[in-house]
């Protein structure tokens, strides 16, 4: 619901603004007090809410899985252990299905991505007004709690995946092999090397970009719809936000899954010789 002294535009802008800390040309190192100020900070700024919540979710993931893993018995598992093992086996099965090379790091990467992204997406089911209102009372102006609605977060993870793709491509095929793959496919002729190179490099760069933007786009769109629904009178908004939230239970799991599977597929391609 919109605040008393806010127009709908201000309300939406407020809810889509991250808590930014950075170097402002006039104010120096400080927290931005408006969208314009945040924009003026340029690249040398950091979204405290995105970082904080994503790290919190990551720590939650590590803590939960570590705790269960340490207590894991080979006998009859408890309920929590069963649930964790179900997630684990699901990810392991996906990796086994999509990844044909031999690399023990792929499993942990996929598990981390899946659970971490799922937990970050899960924050979206918290009512859109709850966190901003709560933190406003604590004197924090902006609080956008879903890290995956921030392109920095999704593209950051996608860039991490991109680094892994480059690393494994070079490690498995060698620098020469990787260069050959970039320059001699799909057309194996020396005259077409520039053409191949342009195509392959674009294809390579599109991978992380699409990976990050897909997750961001889905989450951001969902968030905007939630905010728009919240602008409706409170006695009618539940007719829309309840179905939308139920639908998003599917979306948040699906997007986490897609991100994970595509990462595994890309890394598999990096391990394969053409």
């Amino acid at each position: 619901m919109a605040g008393n002294n806010q127009t709908p535009t201000e309300y939406i802008q407020h809810h889509l603004q991250n808590l930014t800390y950075g170097y402002h040309p006039e104010n120096g190192w400080s927290i931005a007090h408006s969208t314009a100020e945040a924009q003026e900070m340029g690249f040398w700024a950091i979204h405290l809410d995105t970082m904080g919540w994503s790290v919190a979710m990551g720590v939650l993931f590590i803590w939960l899985f570590r705790m269960v893993g340490k207590a894991a018995t080979t006998g009859v598992p408890g309920k929590l252990q069963s649930a964790i093992e179900m997630v684990f086996e699901f990810v392991e099965g996906t990796v086994r299905g999509a990844f044909h090379g031999r690399n023990t790091l792929i499993g942990p990467i996929a598990l981390t991505l899946f659970v971490w992204i799922f937990l970050m997406n899960l924050l979206k089911l918290i009512p859109v007004d709850l966190a901003p209102q709560l933190f406003a009372r604590l004197g924090v102006e902006y609080m956008k709690i879903v890290p995956t609605t921030d392109p920095n977060a999704t593209l950051g993870m996608a860039l991490g995946v991109f680094c892994l793709i480059i690393y494994y491509s070079i490690k498995v095929k060698g620098l020469g092999g990787f260069a050959k793959e970039l320059s001699l496919t799909p057309f194996n002729h020396w005259l077409l090397i520039p053409f191949n190179l342009v195509m392959e490099v674009i294809g390579l760069l599109v991978k992380p970009l699409s990976l990050g933007l897909r997750l961001f786009g889905n989450m951001f769109a969902g968030e905007v719809i939630f905010i728009l629904i919240a602008l409706l009178p409170f006695w009618i908004s539940w007719t829309l936000n309840v179905p939308w939230a139920i639908f998003h239970i599917l979306v948040i799991s699906l997007q986490a899954f897609i991100f994970t599977v595509l990462t595994v597929v890309y890394l598999n391609a990096a391990h394969e010789h053409h």
């Binding site: 700024a45 970082m51 990551g58 993931f61 590590i62 570590r66 080979t74 950051g156 993870m157």
Partner: protein, 156 residues
């Protein structure tokens, strides 16, 4: 919604979490799962082996039972046969013995009769000679008489 340092921060966070996961999360869960998998597989194996063994043992027991039954029947039959044989043998022996005894008695009787006949014959001839001597009172030719008496004895 501008791209800024958060991008780098998120990359670093990603790397750290992957490292943590690789080192502290993946191995224990993976080990527990695979060990349990192995345990269950072993258990199932053992169960199937045990049931196979049981089946085999049951079969063996049945066979042994059948064999012993057959053996008992055979032994019984043999005993029957043997007893019948023994009875038959005894009967035959008794019959033979009886026959032999009857034959012995018969031949003895015959001998006795013959001997009596011989004796009687001797006696008769002696008596006849005696009688004749008495009749004649004197013997003319002892030799001729003896021949006569012998002839007489033969005729008797």
């Amino acid at each position: 919604m501008n791209i800024n340092m958060t991008l780098i921060g998120q990359m670093i966070a990603f790397a750290i979490f992957v490292w943590f996961c690789t080192k502290y999360v993946w191995p224990p869960i993976n080990n527990a799962l695979h060990e349990r998998q192995k345990k269950i597989a072993d258990g199932l194996d053992a169960a199937s082996r045990a049931s196979r063994d049981l089946e085999k043992a049951e079969q063996q027991a049945e066979e042994t039972l059948r064999e012993s039954k057959e053996q008992a029947a055979e032994i019984l039959e043999q005993a029957h046969k043997r007893s019948n044989q023994m009875i038959d043998e005894a009967r035959e022996q008794a019959r033979q013995e009886g026959e032999r005894m009857v034959a012995g008695a018969r031949s003895e009787i015959e001998q006795e009769v013959n001997r009596a006949k011989e004796e009687l014959r001797g006696e008769v001839s002696r008596l006849s000679v005696l009688g004749a001597e008495r009749i004649l009172e004197a013997s003319i030719d002892e030799k001729q008489h003896a021949r006569l008496v012998e002839k007489l004895a033969d005729e008797l």
